[in-house]
């Protein structure tokens, strides 16, 4: 498989993955509103990576989403980054973003998270969402490029063998 094909495959899987992920986040409150027992499974899955505090979640159908506003922002940011990925990087193997850009985009969420964790302040939900959105938008440029790099190396090793 060529490098370009590898990156396209990784891209498609990443896009489908994040769409399914966000779909599950939105399905959880819907299932709960309909008393569908699988809502417990959905909330349970996301409970491993999110505190799911109702006071920090957006609501849908009268019930909290499966993740908090910050996490939702990260995942929606990831989706937006994936959508813009072909227009910014194309499907050729390219370098990951420069370190300074990652640090710059991480700084707001890092400061906000640290401040809330240490009880220095309590950010409003919309701000947590926005900071998550900003940070999440750069993540696909690492994820897609990094995984493509891994599989490309794997293919080259197999060819040598």
């Amino acid at each position: 498989m060529t490098e370009k094909k590898t990156i396209i495959v990784i891209y498609i899987f990443s896009l489908l993955g994040i769409l399914a992920w966000l779909g599950a986040i939105l399905l959880a409150p819907y299932f709960k509103s309909q008393s569908i027992p699988e809502s417990r499974l959905l909330y349970g899955v996301f409970s491993r990576i999110c505190h799911q505090a109702p006071s920090r979640c957006f609501y849908l159908f009268g019930f909290p989403l499966a993740v908090c506003t910050r996490c939702l922002g990260i995942y929606l940011g990831f989706l937006s980054g994936i959508v813009f990925f072909p227009f910014i990087k194309g499907f050729k193997m390219a370098a990951v973003p420069p370190s300074w850009l990652f640090i710059f985009l991480t700084f707001p969420i890092a400061v906000d998270t640290g401040g809330n964790f240490l009880s220095l302040w309590s950010s409003p939900d919309w701000l947590r969402f926005v900071f998550g959105l900003i940070w999440g938008s750069i993540l696909p440029f690492y994820f897609v490029v990094g995984l493509s790099d891994f599989f490309t190396h794997l293919q080259k090793k197999k060819k040598r063998v």
Partner: protein
């Protein structure tokens, strides 16, 4: 000359162990997935430090995914003593959420009595598998970020095999 890359297990064990422990402890685990990504970045840093050659993004993905799986195992073990406490906290959260629900679905009270999840063995195993997949994905992302941000410059004369170069389009595919 291709130098042997260091063993990934120890850095992954350290990064994943710390991330898994912090993910399993109530109240501290409120930083959500960031612990897993942070643990993977730590693993990537430790691997980079021990490596004589600069690492590629793919190496970061592997050590990150490995640290994510280790974090899932540690999280499962650490969560056991805190499960009763977590159930209590969860129940209070759901009670609080119920106050804001317009219509309480049928069976809500029964569900609260049962707790957040049925703790049968198949469910526990399924839950662990799902957690491992999620943590491995987050870990891979963290490892890629870690290797990319904490780059080790190549020494003069050292061959660097890194396909994540801008001019890679000139090479044969």
């Amino acid at each position: 000359m291709n130098e042997q890359k260091p063993n990934m297990f120890i850095p992954a064990l350290i990064g994943g162990g710390i991330a898994g422990f912090l993910s399993g402890v109530p109240l501290v685990n409120c930083l959500c997935c960031l612990w897993i990504i942070g643990g993977a970045i730590l693993a990537a840093y430790l691997l980079q430090r021990d490596s004589k050659t600069p690492l590629t993004s793919g190496d970061g993905a592997i050590v990150g995914a490995l640290s994510g799986i280790i974090a899932a195992v540690v999280d499962a073990i650490v969560s056991i003593p805190f499960q009763a406490l977590s159930n209590d906290i969860f129940r209070k959260m759901m009670d609080w959420a119920a106050e804001y629900a317009d219509d309480i679905p049928e069976g809500w009270e029964k569900w609260l009595e049962q707790g957040n999840m049925d703790m049968t063995l198949p469910w526990i195993f399924l839950g662990f598998l799902i957690t491992a997949v999620i943590f491995a994905s987050l870990g891979a992302l963290g490892g890629i970020i870690g290797v990319s941000v904490i780059k080790k410059p190549a020494k003069p004369g050292q061959e660097v095999i890194d396909v994540s170069e801008k001019d890679s389009g000139d090479r044969k595919s």
